[in-house]
Symmetry: C2
Subunit: 336 residues, 2 copies
């Protein structure tokens, strides 16, 4: 296999209602069946009229941007200084929800296409109607966790599988490959970016020579959106730590199933955390804590200490319920 990455030059300004397929075909009469077109989402948005009018400057502009960000946001993932990383309604995790003020006049913001897979399918159909069988990727620039610098990835795709699955293949040493689904439409988007440039008005590039695989499906780039429940990085570190603090302030009264280990850990944590002299007795499915002294202040300290022990247990995944009486606190883990 041998690929060529070809820029499509001379497309010019795009405005709402423009026929992108016609404009691309006239700028690139050399397009041929089997080509993969990588189209910057910006021009798809413009053609689809996904522009919002905003003031050119001043606090009114900031307010308008904030309102747009809110309406494009499904949930905030992380915030630091001026940077807000959100998950969009599409499921993409992007700074500022992908809202862009570049390559557009100062009185407009460009939103992402409402449904980039549908945009890619429609564009592919427009080419097909003109007799051209091409795959279409709608791409945008994204940041990543852990690595500096941005790369282009696929927001939408049609006529090409998003993932190439090597699972089940066997290497020359007889090892079965696992966990090897390559995000090929992201790699194609990255390859295309190399010939695009940001201010060069090259919003489309063509990858020529990339084979279609019969079994790859056509589920679109939505297949690349990891669902939040299985994402180990669904929240920013600071936000998740804050969530832990909030959880600690609102511990549920809920005894874990009977577990002698929980009793052992609770007693150990109490010995570590509670005021010296605190009474600590491990019982059947419970730990009894009594105050270090006979004063009222000792009872207050006991209450705080017992809560701290429960929080430390929660950090280990163990929940507890409590019974408070005039002589002390019992942490209850369910009878063993």
């Amino acid at each position: 296999m041998r690929l060529e990455i070809l820029p499509v030059e001379g497309i010019g300004d795009i405005t709402a209602g423009d026929d992108l397929a016609a404009l691309i075909m006239s700028a690139a009469p050399w397009l041929t069946d089997g080509d993969v077109l990588v189209v910057t989402s910006k021009i798809v948005s413009k053609a689809e009229g996904r522009l919002v009018e905003v003031p050119a400057d001043g606090p009114e502009r900031d307010d308008a941007r904030r309102r747009m960000l809110e309406s494009e946001t499904a949930r905030v993932v992380a915030r630091r200084g001026p940077t807000t990383i959100v998950q969009t309604h599409h499921g993409f995790v992007m700074a500022a929800a992908g809202i862009d003020a570049s390559n557009v006049d100062k009185t407009h913001l460009v939103l992402l296409p409402a449904d980039p897979d549908a945009s890619a399918r429609a564009l592919r159909a427009d080419f097909a109607a003109r007799g051209l069988d091409v795959a279409v990727i709608v791409s945008d620039t994204m940041g990543r966790a852990w690595r500096n610098g941005l790369t282009d990835v696929a927001l939408g795709a049609a006529g090409i599988g998003a993932l190439r699955d090597h699972r089940g293949e066997v290497d020359p040493y007889g090892n079965e490959l696992s966990l090897t689904q390559m995000a090929v439409v992201d790699e194609l988007s990255a390859a295309a970016e190399l010939v695009k440039g940001k201010c060069d008005r090259v919003p489309v590039a063509v990858v020529r020579g990339y084979p279609r695989h019969a079994d790859e499906g056509d589920a679109g780039a939505a297949a690349l959106v990891r669902d939040t429940a299985s994402d180990m990085f669904s929240l920013g570190t600071a936000e998740a730590r804050t969530q832990g603090l909030l959880d600690a302030a609102h511990l549920p009264e809920a005894a874990s199933p009977a577990d002698p280990e929980a009793v052992r850990r609770a007693a150990a944590l109490a010995a570590l955390l509670a005021t010296p002299g605190t009474g600590i007795v491990a019982e059947d499915g419970a730990v009894r804590l009594t105050p270090a002294g006979s004063g009222s202040a000792d009872l207050v300290r006991l209450g705080a200490d017992a809560y701290r022990v429960r929080v430390a247990l929660a950090a280990e995944g163990v929940t507890s319920s409590t019974a408070v009486d005039d002589a002390g606190v019992t942490l209850i883990f369910g009878a063993s």
Copy 2:
């Protein structure tokens, strides 16, 4: 600009001490000045002897893998089920520290090159010694946050800048571009992966036609490693939440600087969280809490409630110190 992505076939098995430049040049006599060689880290590791002997199976193999993972790990970033994502000593955040059991016989594991930028520089120098001026990228396959599927990225680079910086450029509408550093060596690695395949013994691909920019520097792929302090996703969500719980169990006694807002929030949180009937009086730089009733159990509950209020404040970034006496608890925020 127009790129070609060309596979280098027929390199064959690599063993420790092999002269990679010689093997690549004989497999690809068509190489020419200005080409960018993207070399899979696996063969660099093999040539550099970065293999570890391990038992072919059984618990001894698992133990050996675990030991290798520990020694390659600078810190654990996230764990879920069988997956461990760590930061390596190089700074890369990767599942299993990039240790690989594929494309090697069953009695060895392959570690990442010890210094992939140095590997890339040495390989580039080897080509230069043979009269060939090529850039070299050492690539590997990585997972990402938020998106399914893997992509190839650069672990090492020589003769090419890792980032292309568009900051300061002005688009056709007069908007200055910001935050637009493209990780071009990652994009080149992704482009090369498209022609490589996993079991096809195509460990090298060439990108032809990518221009060298005079100002891009040659700091290597280390420039792509985001430092942990500025990474908003330096820890897994579950791990960071657990850190928040641990922090909550070990609140420091440390009054924030004087802040009437802290006093107001503390009183509001106490009203929300404390046992109904608890006395709440906002004072100058402090909130005084007194028990809801006259029994000993009320004092114990007061202690727990006061601690919960302090935890909830910590979630808002406000620290406090406490004074406990026989009549109640005072949360102190510094005199205003």
